[in-house]
């Protein structure tokens, strides 16, 4: 057993984790601050017998990974804001055709080209609603390298479990900073393999007929079952249909398979919540500063706690209600104009007790930014 401790960038951690999860195929297009993911995979994937391709744009990248997923591969693409915008149509295709795939968005400041080399968490709602039409999506995030690893593996596992695209919403600080990573041993984290059909060749296989548990066993392109895949509403054979019953049934299936499992999909970390009177809620790089604030306030005997979200979508309403009920104040710490804050207000009984501590100028939110908001809430001025 060689050295299992590394001191690397967050983007490299994502690469290590994707390889650990069994990544076979990556397609991407360079964009700051995600480019290192493509660069490292161009080097590492062929060593593992996998395939890397730099496509002509992010639209093509997203399309290519969907095609590769259908041949039975574990697939990934990585991008940042503008590229994530370009991927939205094909991301919706992956939702509709139920294609397991993972999309990393290392967030930068937007809209438009925005502020490429600086931090933001402005794409939280885009991850939820970027593609057109009603749908459900899974989006995960992380605040430190050990968690970037864990969440990346989770993303591959959830993509297979729910036959869905999973978005990894990292940010410029987590992506670019260097810190310690302890590489998990082989088999230390369970990996979800693709669920394949047990139907024999020559027997009618229904690629889009869900089992009782809502899962749909797949068959690889090139295998014994030939079927149709489409972005149109489709019947159990994957053939286009505008039958109202089929349309309604499929939309409900696409949404319910994720929303009704929100509790299972919810990943979060709790710090001092048992007796907390005031709760900070944060995620991604912002949660680092939030944790620092909570740690120092606890040392002074003040009953603050932190709920760090790792699953952003489906939004863990129940977790928020359970952990924040009875809190005098809830302070959401994020680097946007309140995208998660809005969800928290929707989740709790007393939205008037929810406050936003944020920063949207491309500068990392630091503990004193948060403390300033806490002072304001207490009516102490700044």
């Amino acid at each position: 057993m060689g050295s299992q401790v590394k001191f690397i960038q967050g983007n490299e951690v994502c690469v290590e984790a994707a390889l650990y999860a069994g990544l076979d195929f990556f397609a991407g297009y360079p964009i700051t601050p995600s480019t290192e993911i493509a660069e490292h995979l161009a080097y590492r994937l062929p060593q593992a017998g996998g395939k890397f391709i730099q496509m002509e744009d992010e639209i093509a990248s997203m399309c290519a990974i969907i095609g590769a997923s259908l041949t039975g591969q574990k697939v990934l693409t990585a991008t940042s804001g503008p590229g994530f915008s370009l991927m939205q149509e094909a991301l919706g295709y992956a939702v509709m055709a139920e294609i397991p795939c993972v999309i990393v968005n290392v967030q930068r400041g937007g809209p438009s080209t925005g502020i490429p080399t600086h931090i933001s968490q402005g794409d939280v709602n885009q991850a939820r609603w970027g593609t057109h039409g009603d749908h459900a999506i899974i989006a995960l995030t992380a605040s430190n390298h050990q968690d970037v690893f864990a969440m990346t593996v989770e993303a591959f596992n959830m993509a297979e479990t729910y036959r869905t695209p999973v978005v990894l919403l990292f940010d410029e600080v987590v992506g670019h900073m260097r810190e310690k990573l302890i590489l998990p041993q082989t088999n230390e984290i369970p990996l979800v393999k693709r669920l394949k059909t047990s139907v024999d060749g020559g027997v009618d296989y229904h690629p889009y007929l869900a089992r009782e548990d809502g899962r749909l066993p797949m068959s690889d392109f090139g295998g014994v079952h030939r079927y149709n895949v489409t972005g149109l509403y489709h019947d159990m054979w994957g053939f286009p249909s505008d039958n109202p019953k089929i349309v309604h049934g499929l939309l409900r299936h696409l949404v319910d398979k994720i929303e009704s499992n929100a509790d299972t999909i919810a990943r979060y970390k709790e710090h001092y919540l048992e007796d907390a009177k005031k709760v900070l809620i944060s995620y991604g790089a912002s949660a680092r500063s939030a944790l620092h604030v909570v740690n120092t306030l606890r040392q002074k005997g003040q009953k603050y706690g932190l709920l760090e979200l790792q699953t952003l979508w489906p939004f863990p309403h129940q977790v928020i209600r359970d952990r924040c009920n009875g809190a005098e104040h809830i302070i959401v710490v994020e680097m946007n104009l309140g995208q998660i804050c809005r969800e928290v207000k929707n989740a709790v009984d007393h939205p008037d007790r929810v406050f936003l501590a944020n920063r949207v100028d491309g500068v990392f939110i630091n503990p004193s930014d948060i403390r300033q908001t806490l002072r304001l809430i207490q009516g102490r001025g700044v």
Binding site: Q47, K51, I53, E56, A64, L70, Q73, V229, F239
Partner: protein
């Protein structure tokens, strides 16, 4: 095997109008495949969105009906991840060369082995007759009520310049040639482009007063000629048919396998 062995009868009748050229392409494509003795399990058809792209639903291969213009990008993922599969990509002229133009030139440049078929009816059929990048100046379309001022592409020249290693053109009138060219295109180890002049009597034909489907096919007969024919020398206005390019150059997936070897991986 007969054409019937390659279709999904369950999904007929098809959606095409009477006289549409796309059905003729379907028939001859299946005749071409039938002559190759490939297993249906080895063939993947990837298409985009348009009347032409609906072809993928009717064939008994692995079929991937994707997004408008993106078929070649999806197909690149299928092919690179499983190079042993034969990938056929039928597209409309708008699909391949307007919204999908970028993917078209880059797939050609990479020389990734797949067969791109452009069913060129010079109009957007599915959306009801708007002009396409192949309509050409002077033509009428719902979005060109005063006649079109857009210059058109020459698909053969474009494919050649972009690096496709097999480039051919035929029409829905010349069905023997179509089947023969498609057979060679599918066997070609590289990116092959086959432009098939096809008729949309419903929109292009009617609006431009080109008569019915038979009249439009007769137009293909009268206005095209084999590459380098005497007729072409006498009448340079004629459109040439046949195989323009057939080169043997390094294929993308094979080149990537070399990368894997170089990196010390095994494939």
């Amino acid at each position: 095997m007969s054409v019937k062995d390659y279709i999904r009868e369950r999904f007929f009748p098809h959606i095409w109008c009477a006289g549409c050229g796309h059905g003729i392409v379907l028939n001859n494509l299946l005749r071409a495949v039938g002559g190759l003795g490939m297993s249906k399990n080895e063939i993947v058809m990837v298409s985009g969105i348009g009347c032409s792209s609906r072809i993928s639903g009717y064939v008994d291969f692995h079929t991937l009906h994707t997004l408008h213009g993106r078929a070649l990008a999806f197909a690149t993922g299928v092919k690179l991840s499983k190079p042993e599969l034969n990938v056929i990509v039928p597209m409309g002229d708008g699909d391949a060369l307007a919204i999908g133009g970028n993917h078209f030139i880059h797939a050609a440049r990479r020389n990734i082995a797949m067969t791109a078929i452009v069913m060129n009816n010079r109009i957007y059929g599915m959306t009801g007759g708007q002009y396409s990048p192949l309509s050409g100046p002077g033509k009428l379309a719902t979005t060109a009520p005063y006649r079109n001022i857009d210059q058109d592409f020459d698909i053969v020249k474009l494919a050649k310049a972009a690096g496709a290693t097999f480039v051919a053109r035929t029409t829905t009138y010349h069905i023997q040639q179509m089947a023969d060219i498609l057979r060679q295109a599918i066997l070609h180890d590289g990116f092959s482009v086959v432009e098939i002049l096809s008729q949309c009597p419903t929109y292009f034909g009617r609006r431009n007063k080109l008569g019915n489907a038979a009249d439009m096919m007769k137009f293909f007969k009268d206005n095209t000629t084999p590459i380098g024919s005497k007729a072409k020398k006498e009448n340079p206005e004629l459109t040439e048919r046949g195989i323009f390019v057939q080169n043997d150059l390094p294929e993308y997936c094979a080149e990537y396998d070399k990368i894997i070897k170089k990196a010390g991986g095994s494939c």
